[in-house]
Amino acid sequence: MLFKTIKKQAFFDFYFPDFQCVGPKKVGINNNGKPIYQFLPFSSFDEIDLDYETTEYSAKTYFLPYKETLSSFEFKEDDWTQNIKYSTRPRVIIGLHPCDINGLIKLDKVFEKTLFPDPYYITRRQNTFVVGIDCKKPCDGGFCSSVGSNTVTHGFDLFLTDIGDRYFVKIGSDRAFNALQKIKTSEITKNDNELYLQTRNKFEDGFEKTVRVENLPNLLDIEFESDVWGKWGDKCLSCGTCAMVCPTCYCYGITEHISMDFNKSDKIKQLYSCNLNDFAQVAGGHNFRPEPATRLKYRYYHQHRGFVESFGQPLCVGCNRCGRACLSGINPTDVISDLQREQKR
């Protein structure tokens, strides 16, 4: 990894012509007076705040849109042709936290590095210039350090750490290196390294929430029939909010829509959630997971067992967006520690 430092002001001089620029924008204030941020398109750096604590939604929608036309069929007589278009719009996303970038790395595993690489995802991912930034302090309920998502070493183009008047910059790609050639940067000094490590250590010490996850693959199997699922399942509204705000939930459904002139049909992919009622319903109406509890269990099972078996790490990045968004107060740290307690009894 190559490192540089860059004066804060110099970074804000970066300019991406014809790009859609996306960053953390303040969209409002919640009940408790806390600002709410979302990753939204911006046109001037004034509109974004890189010192934000966390965003309400993850940035996954810029890689996996909630709704996307996979292909369209054009009808002619008895025949049809299938048209497929990939989104190649260049985009810069500035201000992704380590959890979001780790989320992208996990999505890369699913969509790029498997038997059937997904061209829809890959074109978006490749055409997005990712600028990450370290958090100032752990976010409310965040437990990223427990799932190894509090730091990143790849998956970005540039990664910034605030060390006072300058950013400590990790350069993650050749295109980022080329871009930096054109603005003023400095080589890192021993002092910079020292400052960087101090900043990081201070951050690490700030975590209030920790949860053990390394035993979860085993635990989830043993506790498959546990009452814990019923307890949290009874609260679950099956509203899919957790999956929608999650940086890594990628489940979807496909439907087709005939146009009103009957000449065209679009095959539309919509991100779904395993908590929604008909997620595991098959033709004829049988539902393999009819109760909220079994659906909720499945979500944890996939994140902390299935994904671990396939890729050696949990799918969860510990951002606790689901926990904050859930009206019923279902959050991963409580559910998991409940399970662990069950185990000790």
Binding site: P119, Y120, Q126, I183, Y272, H302, G306, S310
Partner: protein
């Protein structure tokens, strides 16, 4: 705040914009692109099931379309939707594939209206298959319940075509009523020409029915198995294969020698959408064919 300093355009980087030429393991670059195929014949089997004979519109596509018994294909009906269907025909027939489809959901309902000449789309083939080569030189038990005979017909065809490589072959088939029996026009051929012992049982006989009556497990009473010389393929609803496999287990057949095909509603077929996950196993990638040991270890499989 002032901006404009370093115009930097990632689009100038090579290989950025278009989808990459994916790694060689993938046979499909455009994962959503269908092979165009034509329905050449529709055969009515029962009130609920029809057999569709389908061939590629472009002969060249056959080169990229090689399947094995037990695998499935995503059948696309533009405007209606896409559904996973197991192959019902022999992989060695390189001109036509056959799909046996029950009128169960909205897409299949539309498909049942289709006539000869309709153009559909095919994606695939996907999933695991029955290890037919490994089963050679053994006795084979092919057991189907209800619609299970549809996917089972692919391995049956394989066995028939390679009859000399297999020892004793038994087909056990159970249905609710005689009117629901699939492929009844083939039974005699299987029995008389292909030297297969075929037993059919129904739960609710009609007046003409002279065969055995009861559940499929009853047919196992009269079958002698040599446990370490027998393979079994069991297709049918979960309750059915659960009881059949349990019974076979008691008869000494190792669970790794029993194969089942699981039904889930795939939306993508390529291990992305998670709709077919059992626990956290993708039925479309790691299945639909599993040995029974694996099924026993999958949470919520049965």
């Amino acid at each position: 705040m002032k901006k404009i300093m370093v115009p930097y355009d990632i689009r100038h980087e090579t290989d950025m914009v278009e989808p990459l030429d994916f790694n060689r393991r993938s046979r499909l670059k455009e994962v959503d692109r269908c092979f165009k195929a034509e329905i050449t014949n529709v055969i009515r089997l029962t009130d609920m099931e029809k057999l569709f004979q389908i061939r590629m519109v472009n002969d060249k596509d056959w080169e990229r379309f090689v399947f094995l018994p037990g695998q499935f294909v995503m059948l696309e009906l533009p405007g209606y939707g896409e559904i996973p269907i197991s192959f019902s025909s022999s992989p060695s027939i390189r001109s036509t594939i056959e799909l046996c489809i029950r009128k169960a959901g909205k897409v299949t309902q539309a498909l049942h209206k289709a006539t000869r000449g309709a153009i559909v789309g095919l994606r695939g083939p996907f999933g695991t298959y029955f290890p037919m080569e490994r089963m050679k030189e053994n006795n084979i038990l092919l057991i189907a319940g209800g619609l299970g005979l549809a996917p089972l017909r692919a391995p049956i065809s394989f066995v028939i075509e390679n009859r000399a490589d297999f020892k004793e072959v038994n087909i056990l088939y159970g249905a609710k009523e005689p009117s629901q029996l699939l492929f009844d026009y083939q039974y005699e051929e299987w029995h008389r020409i292909d030297d297969i012992n075929l037993e059919v049982i129904v739960e609710q006989p009609d007046k003409k029915w002279i065969g055995p009556v009861g559940l499929i497990t009853k047919l196992l009473d009269d079958i002698k198995v040599v446990p370490d010389k027998t393979y079994a393929i069991v297709c049918g609803p979960p309750v059915m294969f659960k009881f059949v496999c349990k019974r076979l287990s008691e008869m000494g057949v190792p669970m790794q020698r029993m194969f089942v095909s699981l039904e889930r509603r795939m939306h993508c077929g390529i291990g992305k959408c998670c709709r077919c996950n059992i626990g956290s196993t993708y039925t479309c990638l790691d299945g639909p064919v599993f040995d029974f040991w694996t099924v026993m270890n999958l949470k919520e499989a049965i």
